[in-house]
């Protein structure tokens, strides 16, 4: 399909710009001006509509496809969430209004949402205070590690190590490193949990924080988390919970109760805000009371008259976003929380776990299951048996694309060879999962019978298998005509 630039026709006009009701003022001095106009597309509004309508059809999406991408919680995004975020009072509110008394008046409704949501999330996580500045999970992690750094700094301690399990998501070590820490990895034991022996060995006075994902990326609930947290506390380290997988425990278990000091949530996973093909999300960072002064950005509080006010945090790690992060995403998450309520969120959690275990049980005989135990919201298979025949996880992914199913996450977590990480989420029906199971079984049979057949796949998509190596070698990241 042509690029919008290839469709551009010199002289063609797009939307009409608002009428000019003031005179033309003299141009800026010529030495401040660009030499020639940016070569943006010259297309009609209708050209644009056709172009993006065509592009949109080339995507799989939750509304059209089962999307069991592990660790991504691709649940149904209720349509009403869009209506909520588009309410004019929210949509048109200028953020700088939060910087003046008169502006606060104008923003009361928005501040009330932040205030209420903090309460709701605190109750779900067992944490005490929350900053909404982080704009995605990784941003929340960075905030959390910064908080740990500040906490130790205030106490005059120089701790330079963050411990992460080998199952951790790549953002965990990356966020730690970006905050200036050295990352030490702890292996998993044969149950897919953190190896406590190794953990004890590596936990020492240089450790600033321990990051765990709960449940972890194998979909396994680490039964030792309380001990992990307790040991860390004794060693003077803080514990961080990567809450990306909260959908597995909502209403069942609260990281705060297990002893975690800090955590983040992924609103674009657990709280059903649409992922938009990669973002925007929101990754609020939550802490216990004793760390709340360090939170990034300002706090929203209620004053004695019931008005919402913005209060500076005395020892804040600083600002991570100009205002309150991805507010529009937060409104959607808030609407979701109100719609679901405590009962609905718990129900969602139960059904998410039920669905994952159902798929696990149904496919257990066809794919190797590296950890044979109950799973939480997702299950991780290995295609290593198939790989021996030459059919890799990637090939199975392409097979699924041809059948209209989005593939699972593949090759993650890293400790599972040829990983197929399947997270159905609670909003999928048994019919859809049965269809998926059927097709996964077909893939397994085909891998036995005709492994070569996979190499040509996908054939039903708008393009065939992409040459990713060539892409990196002969870098072409912008169109030059």
């Amino acid at each position: 399909m042509k690029l919008i630039y290839e469709k551009s026709v010199e002289g063609r006009k797009g939307v009409r710009i608002p009428v000019r009701d003031v005179k033309h003022y003299p141009f800026l001095p010529v030495d401040l001006l660009r030499k020639k106009p940016a070569d943006l597309p010259s297309v009609s509004e209708f050209n644009t509509v056709r172009h993006f309508s065509a592009l949109e059809k080339k995507n799989f999406s939750i509304d059209s496809n089962f999307y069991p991408l592990g660790s991504c919680t691709m649940k149904y995004n209720p349509k009403v969430l869009e209506s909520a975020a588009n309410l004019p009072g929210f949509r048109n509110l200028h953020p700088f209004l939060s910087y003046s008394a008169r502006g606060l008046e104008a923003a009361q409704g928005a501040l009330e949402i932040l205030y209420n949501m903090e309460k709701a999330l605190a109750s779900l996580t067992g944490m005490d205070e929350i900053s909404f500045q982080p704009m995605a999970g990784a941003h929340g992690e960075f905030a959390g590690i910064k908080i740990a750094a500040a906490y130790h700094a205030v106490r005059g301690e120089h701790r330079k190590i963050v411990l992460v399990p080998d199952t951790s998501h790549g953002t965990n070590p990356a966020s730690s490193a970006m905050a200036g820490f050295d990352v030490v990895t702890i292996p998993s034991d044969k149950n897919g949990e953190m190896d406590m022996g190794e953990y004890r060995k590596k936990l020492n006075g240089s450790v600033a924080a321990v990051m765990m994902t709960c449940p972890n990326t194998l979909g396994i609930f680490n039964r030792n988390i309380k001990e992990v947290c307790g040991l860390a506390r004794k060693a003077g380290a803080l514990t961080y919970c990567d809450g990306a997988n909260m959908n597995a425990v909502l209403g069942k278990m609260r990281p705060g109760d297990a002893g975690f000091d800090i955590m983040h949530l992924n609103m674009h996973k657990t709280f059903a805000t649409p992922h938009g093909g990669g973002g925007p999300g929101a990754g609020p960072v939550c802490v216990k009371k004793y760390l709340s002064d360090f939170l990034p950005g300002e706090a929203v509080r209620k004053d004695d008259d019931g008005r919402f006010v913005i209060v500076k945090r005395p020892r804040s790690v600083g600002r991570l976003a100009p205002f309150f992060g991805n507010f529009g995403v937060l409104v959607k998450a808030y609407a979701y929380i109100l719609l679901m309520g405590g009962d609905g969120l718990t129900d969602a959690c139960e059904k998410a776990v039920l669905n994952a275990n159902y798929i696990k049980a149904a496919l257990e005989k066809f794919y190797e299951l590296p950890y044979k135990r109950r799973c939480m919201h997702e299950c991780v298979f290995s295609a290593s048996a198939q790989a021996k025949k030459g059919v890799r996880a990637l090939d199975i992914a392409k097979f699924l694309i041809d059948r209209g199913f989005h593939p699972p996450t593949i090759y993650f977590p890293l400790i599972v060879k040829e990983a197929l990480m399947i997270e159905p989420t609670e909003t999928e029906s048994i019919e859809t999962m049965d269809e998926f199971i059927k097709i996964m079984k077909e893939a397994a049979s085909l891998a036995e019978e005709d492994p070569e057949a996979f190499k040509k796949m996908p054939v039903n998509s708008c393009v065939g298998r992409m040459d990713e190596t060539a892409a990196a070698r002969k870098l072409d990241i912008k169109y030059s005509k």
Binding site: M1, L3, R12, G14, V15, I17, K35, A38, D39, P41, S42, L55, E56, K57, N59, F60, S61, Y76, P88, F90, P95, S100, A106, G109, L124, M135, T171, S176, A177, M178, G180, D257, A258, N266, G277, G278, P280, A321, F323, F324, M340, G341, G342, L345, A348, E350, K351, L354, N355, N357, I401, H406, P407, I430, S461, M466, E468, A472, I477, Y479
Partner: protein
Amino acid sequence: MSYCPHTDKEIEKMLRVIGADSVPDLFSDIPDDLRAGELALENGKSEFEVMGKLEKLSANCSAGRISFTGGGFYDHFIPSAVDALSQMSGFLTSYTPYQSECSQGTLQALYEYQTAICRLTGLDGANASVYDGGTALAEGIMMAARKTMRKKIVIDACVNPLYRDIVKTYFSGQGFEILEIAPDGCAVDREKFIKAIDDNTAAVVIQNPNFFGTVDDYSDITAAAHSAGAQAVGSFYPVAMALLKTPAETGFDIATGEGQSLGMPLSFGGPYLGYVAATSACLRNLPGRIVGATCDSEGRRGFVLTLQAREQHIRRERASSNICSNQNLCAIRALIYLSLAGKKGFREVAELSRDKSEYAKELIGKIPSIKIKNTAPTFNEFVFETDLPADTVLEAMSKSGIDAGIALGGFYKGFEKSVLISFTEKSRKEDIDFFARELENFLTERK
């Protein structure tokens, strides 16, 4: 209530397949002492009740008055087609395009978006977005720090104070020295700035137009940076770039900025769009996702996420950034916006925004007790000073139904009586006239 489809019969069937007695059974791995008690949350409500509540909260936000508030976030016009197209479910409800063959829609759009950013900045490559303009600036400076392996950053205090805060947060506690050069009036203090650059300097950091609205040519500063072996990093307002010398033309190595103006509603601060672009020498050092063109098995053009070896999911603690989810849908919105406005229309938006600002400057400048603080040219905003504290003036204007801008005293010493005021193509002449009248009346009465 939840959005689960499960009937009791189905649950039974599934439990049978699983070999579990009950749903609570599935949670047996959670130790008893960690079982959550009663949640302090109300039960779920119907869409009707929830929207009723949110509508009340929305009505409790007095958005939509006459507003001249800017400061890096502008109320430009958003054509309806931006919403209609970006909210199509293929864009809205898909995940990151890891599986390229079923994500060509997002991938091609991002390639086109990256191209648009390159064409605006004049630079060689751009990534597929970061969170916002502030984190984009921080990421840009980190690129320079990695490249130069130096630890000093010289930053113009005319850079948006909120962005400077973000930069400080990112770099704190890691041995970096961040040198802020106080402004000379509403412009960079050239002499001091250039003097501060030395061979420890990783990056010089500039914003154009700066936070005061002043437009400048920073070629001398970027040249000074380069001769000291430092990189030049800037933050640029995309609408201004329609007219202004490009970052490339001015010698910047890395251009970043806030894309909110390209089709994102103000939405109390987000979701917005951080862009990062760079010269070819820096491309493999970019943070976050990048889309590249390639071919499929039959030689057809297609698009993939490329240079993934830079990223956290491959390189983990050695990644060029920790970013994973970005602001993808906002990047697509920006591309749609730029396509709709088009080469010609986008310039018109810029020209109109500036001319409205010039008109207001002329008008307000005539009010006796008012002084326009910018001495150099401005784009779509400027600073005016009265004899009264800025908050007093803004309070009064607010009573007339006008959000007249940002009080600068909280951000800059010596600006306690200064207001930053901004305009877009949407600022109606009649509203500007009304504002000028109200302002003059107020100032006269207070005499």
